[in-house]
């Protein structure tokens, strides 16, 4: 009751302020009337009575104010006043405001932009029920079959886990793949996910329209032509058609029925891969033609997830699944292909174990790729923010000096120190709030640019990561704002409120105050120099890494070289038909004017793909399976000519090669044929399905110079090449074209050739090799570009800060300098007197920065290529660059000091 009454009164005085105030007026008015009436009754005149009443009452205005104060909302009213006053003060010094706001905006914007990416890539939980219960089930140990990813398992093994486990309320598996979608009159390649029937029920994801896939939609191989759409794809591609359920679409040439649309915001379980279609796992053969995997134990391709039963933790789940993986492996070693395993290999293989990883964020290759770079960028942008705060603190300290008089006046007329600190903090909050708002805008723009450089937009025109700030990003920016106010605002505010009243109200001649302030500003400057050096060293290292990678090159000339990929199997062209298509297309392209050479490769170069396969070689015995497995590729004649990679021995393939032949690279030759001439000797592929050949059956007809394969970073692996027309299962193919003209001008003609031969086969990834190399270096480019921007920003901030402090010091010492000059100091002496401080301040900063760089360098070692984190040349060049910038900034005030006219300076005092 009591609290209710109190609360009611408080609310009343807050929201019915006017009414309550009027009531108080009434109350006081009534009192006065009563007193006047009383006074009249005892015989005073009307006039006298009024004065007497007022006298005995006191000052009504002051008393009313005191009364209002008891209502408890005074502080709010004062904050309102502070805000209005703060706005006026900021408007009165627009230059200061603009510089401070922009500085903060850059600092906060950089951090928010990086956080926004990091949040989505590294931190965000899946939008499903109880994501914390989700785990990933993976196999650890050695494999002899093929694998699509380190965290994938085979479908039969998934089935063993699903049916035998005691620890999950449910399991599901998924596999991402591109399919060709036909709807209306348009055919396009879209990102899809093959999912088990348990996928939606176990995730707890519902359907926005129609129904979700259920276990009954995933029973018979090839027997469930049904699909679900993602919500965003349904909006974009199907214009949010409410009657979509039951419609027919064509996937890879098969007619499917759309059964529903998933709930909004759900795009599959992989960050960086937005699934647009969900298709039952049992349709695998139709969706990834020529590769029947559902009963294949030696092929790992399914990412398997489980939902832990309540009360079961990861360790328990792992222990409980171990017998299952063992049984599964025992079945696998019975397969014919396992017959050739050595006893040692077999024993090792049976020791493979299961691992259970937390999967509340799903699984993401993007995350693994970007994890370290993003943390590096978070650290760099954090340093930029620190620098920005230091700069704003510096500005505020300078401003505090110019406002000393104002503060003194306010203290003198009775403002409390707390009130003044609060006033200054409110002003700082205003600055920070405006800075944050601008920073958010900058972050949004920066993220758009970053996303555009990092991802190519897909057919639906969207990126797998969003640049629009969500609630978490806004909260983060808000937190940043509070933090910055604390860091840059509190110390200057405390200091200004301590202004001495008397000396400030007098003329400010020779004001002694501010010595401590100058010291604080010098500390800030040295700190800024240190941080700027740190960022410059980082930027130099990352730029060098990028340059080293670019210079290292792929092992062939990239000039006038372009590539594109076709996958006619998605349109029903398989085997002989596909090979025929490839040959005819190659012939047509070669006939195009401007094209000098065409080569075909099954595996695209420098896109991170790799088909590794164990081989055996004539006269070579492997030492216990420790070998790096060679990368294999099916190619056409003239591929090496097209790429410009020379043969170092033997010859290239020709279409007349009908016998089993192979070409190997130098690394493979060195390894398997050390000291021998490999041409004419034999190698053999260890086949996945059948027992290994007893004798190597492929004759080596040539040795080719090394070229980079998966990316530019890794050295060339051992490689083996085979003619593609010997492949029993031709599917997709990447075409390489060397031209005499700019490849960009050929692209349209190439597309037309493909369309003429096969109207429905989409051409994907068409770009020049230079562009391809650019794409393969996108992480390095992102890090190098951003760290360069951060480094430049940091240098600018530090130099501006240094300039500001030196200019301030010179202004304060004008009179002293005037006296020195009057007493005979030379211009050079004065110049050096000021420059000495510049050198000292930057020197201390540089030393601290170098020590910091030395201490932190090893943290980024994994991100570098061809340069050491403690590279002395980098350290020296970054220091020189910063020192030069600092010197320039210091020279201006020093020069000005040396030009001080003693007469003028002294008269001014």
């Amino acid at each position: 009751m009591v609290w209710a009454r109190k609360a009611w009164l408080r609310l009343q005085s807050l929201f019915l302020r006017r009414r309550v105030a009027r009531q108080l007026d009434d109350e006081v008015q009534f009192h006065l009337e009563q007193q006047i009436a009383e006074n009249v009754r005892v015989g005073m005149s009307e006039e006298e009575a009024r004065y007497a009443a007022l006298r005995s009452f006191g000052n009504p205005t002051a008393l009313k104010e005191e009364t209002r104060e008891t209502w408890g909302w005074m502080w709010l009213q004062q904050v309102g006043q502070d805000l209005r006053y703060g706005f006026r003060m900021l408007r009165r010094s627009p230059l200061f405001t603009v510089v401070a706001v922009l500085t903060l905006a850059f600092g906060i914007g950089a951090n928010t932009a990086i956080f926004s990416l990091m949040d989505q890539v590294l931190l965000e939980l899946l939008p499903v029920k109880h994501p914390e219960q989700l785990v990933l089930v993976v196999e650890r140990g050695i494999r002899f079959g093929n694998s699509w990813g380190d965290n994938d398992i085979s479908y039969p093994m998934y089935r063993d886990f699903r049916d035998g486990n005691q620890v999950f309320t449910g399991m599901f598996g998924r596999y991402p793949t591109s399919v060709s979608l036909g709807y209306g009159d348009r055919t396009e390649r879209v990102a899809a996910e093959l999912v088990t029937g348990s996928y939606f029920p176990v995730l707890g994801v519902a359907a926005a329209i129609g129904r979700t896939l259920m276990p009954d939609d995933d029973r018979v191989p090839g027997g469930h032509p049904v699909a679900m759409l993602s919500y965003s794809f349904w909006q974009k591609r199907f214009s949010s058609d409410p009657s979509i359920a039951g419609r027919q679409i064509v996937l890879n040439g098969y007619t499917f029925t759309v059964i529903g649309v998933s709930q909004a915001g759900f795009d599959g379980v992989e960050v960086g891969y937005k699934s647009k279609l969900f298709i039952p796992m049992m349709m695998q053969l139709q969706m990834t033609p020529l590769s029947d995997r559902l009963e294949e134990r030696r092929l790992n391709w399914v990412t398997a997830f489980g939902r832990l039963k309540p009360g079961i933790d990861i360790a328990q789940a792992k222990a409980s699944l171990q017998p299952l993986v063992h049984n599964s492996l025992k079945v696998e070693v019975q397969e014919p292909a396992a017959q050739h395993y050595s006893d040692y290999d077999r024993a090792q293989f049976l020791k493979n174990s299961v691992d259970v990883l937390p999967a509340s964020q799903g699984w993401s290759g993007l995350r693994e790729q970007l994890q370290t770079p993003l943390w590096v960028l978070v650290a760099l942008s954090g340093v930029v923010l620190l620098l920005a705060c230091a700069n704003v603190a510096n500005l505020l300290l300078a401003r505090a000096t110019t406002r000393e008089r104002e503060m003194a006046v306010r203290l003198a007329i009775g403002a409390g120190r707390r009130r003044i600190i609060r006033q200054l903090l409110v002003e700082n909050f205003l600055l920070a709030a405006i800075g944050t708002a601008v920073g958010l805008g900058l972050a949004f723009l920066a993220d758009r640019v970053l996303l555009a450089t990092f991802f190519s937009a897909d057919s639906a025109g969207d990126f797998p990561i969003s640049s629009v700030p969500d609630m978490r990003v806004l909260l983060f920016a808000f937190g940043m704002m509070l933090l910055t106010v604390m860091v840059f605002g509190l110390a200057p505010a405390m200091q200004s409120s301590q202004a001495d009243i008397a000396p400030n109200l007098k003329d400010r001649a020779g004001s002694g105050a501010g010595g401590k302030q100058v010291f604080l500003r010098k500390v800030l400057i040295s700190g800024q120099m240190a941080l700027a050096l740190l960022l410059l060293i980082g930027a130099t290292l990352f730029l060098k890494t990028l340059a080293n990678l670019e210079n290292s090159g792929p092992g062939f000339s990239t000039e006038h070289l372009m590539a594109f990929t076709v996958d006619p199997s998605l349109n029903g062209y398989v085997n002989d038909r596909a090979k025929d298509f490839f040959r005819r297309l190659a012939d047509d392209l070669r006939a195009l004017p401007g094209v000098s050479s065409v080569g075909l490769s099954t595996m695209p170069l420098l896109q991170g793909y790799g088909w590794d396969n164990p081989i055996i070689a004539e006269g070579y015995s492997a030492d216990s399976g420790q070998d790096q497995r060679p990368i294999c590729d099916m190619i056409s004649p003239n591929l090496f000519t097209t790429l410009g990679v020379p043969m170092v021995a033997g010859r290239d393939f020709t279409v007349l090669d009908t016998r089993p032949v192979a070409i190997i690279n130098e690394t493979l030759a060195r390894k398997y044929f050390a000291g021998r001439d490999p041409v004419g000797l034999h190698i053999g592929m260890v086949d996945d399905r059948t027992a290994a050949p007893d004798t190597p059956n492929l004759e080596v007809i040539g040795v080719v110079k090394d070229l980079k394969y998966k990316n530019l970073r890794d050295p060339a692996p051992p490689q083996a090449y085979f003619p593609y027309w010997h492949d029993e299962k031709a599917r997709f193919m990447t075409f390489y074209l060397r031209s005499r003209v700019d490849p960009q001008r050929l692209m349209q003609a190439v597309r037309e050739q493909v369309r003429r031969l096969a109207p429905n086969v989409p051409v994907v990834d068409m770009r020049t090799i230079d562009e391809q190399i650019g794409l393969s270096l996108k992480t390095e480019r992102l890090v190098a570009g951003l760290s360069a921007v951060f480094g430049a920003l940091a240098t600018a901030l530090a130099v501006i800060g240094l300039y500001g402090v030196m200019a301030y010091i010179v202004a304060r010492r004008r009179c002293e300098i005037g006296i020195r000059v009057a007493l005979g100091a030379l211009q050079g002496d004065v110049l050096w007197m000021v420059m000495r401080q510049v050198v000292l301040l930057s020197g201390v900063g540089l030393v601290i920065g170098a020590l910091l760089a030395f201490a932190l360098g090893s943290l980024i070692r994994s991100q570098l290529y061809g340069v050491q984190p403690h590279d002395p040349f980098t350290l020296v060049s970054a220091s020189l660059m910063l020192a030069a910038a600092a010197g320039m900034a210091g020279l201006i005030p020093s020069w000005r000091a040396s030009r001080v006219d003693p007469l003028h300076a002294l008269r001014h005092e």
Partner: protein, 109 residues
């Protein structure tokens, strides 16, 4: 805006609580009553009553109600709440103890 000392403030609170303990009164009547009873010894500046009244109201020791006076004018009448009555007893007891102690000290010398 110096705050009254605890003693003064506490004393004024006590006087107000005591004055309205018998029947609801409006501000002027409270001031009048305090003056009368103390035989004009306690010259409370009448206006300073109002901050005290509002403070007590906010502590929920007294409650206010708008009602008509005998002359037919609307005025704000204050009366004690249960919490206020308890507070009055406590403060009155405190005061007796304090004044007795001061008496002792003063008369001993």
């Amino acid at each position: 805006m110096g705050k009254p000392t605890d003693l003064v403030q506490g004393t004024l609170d006590l006087l107000i609580l005591k004055t309205i303990s018998l029947e609801p009164k409006h501000g002027w009547a409270i001031a009048k009553r305090i003056q009368q009873i103390s035989s004009d010894v306690l010259q409370v500046q009448q206006g300073s009553l109002y901050p005290a009244l509002h403070r007590l109201e906010r502590k929920a020791w007294i409650k206010a109600r708008w009602a008509e006076t005998e002359t037919g004018r609307k005025a704000k009448f204050y009366s004690l709440t249960a919490a206020g009555r308890a507070q009055l007893e406590k403060e009155a007891a405190n005061w007796s103890r304090l004044s007795a102690a001061i008496d002792l000290v003063v008369e001993a010398t």
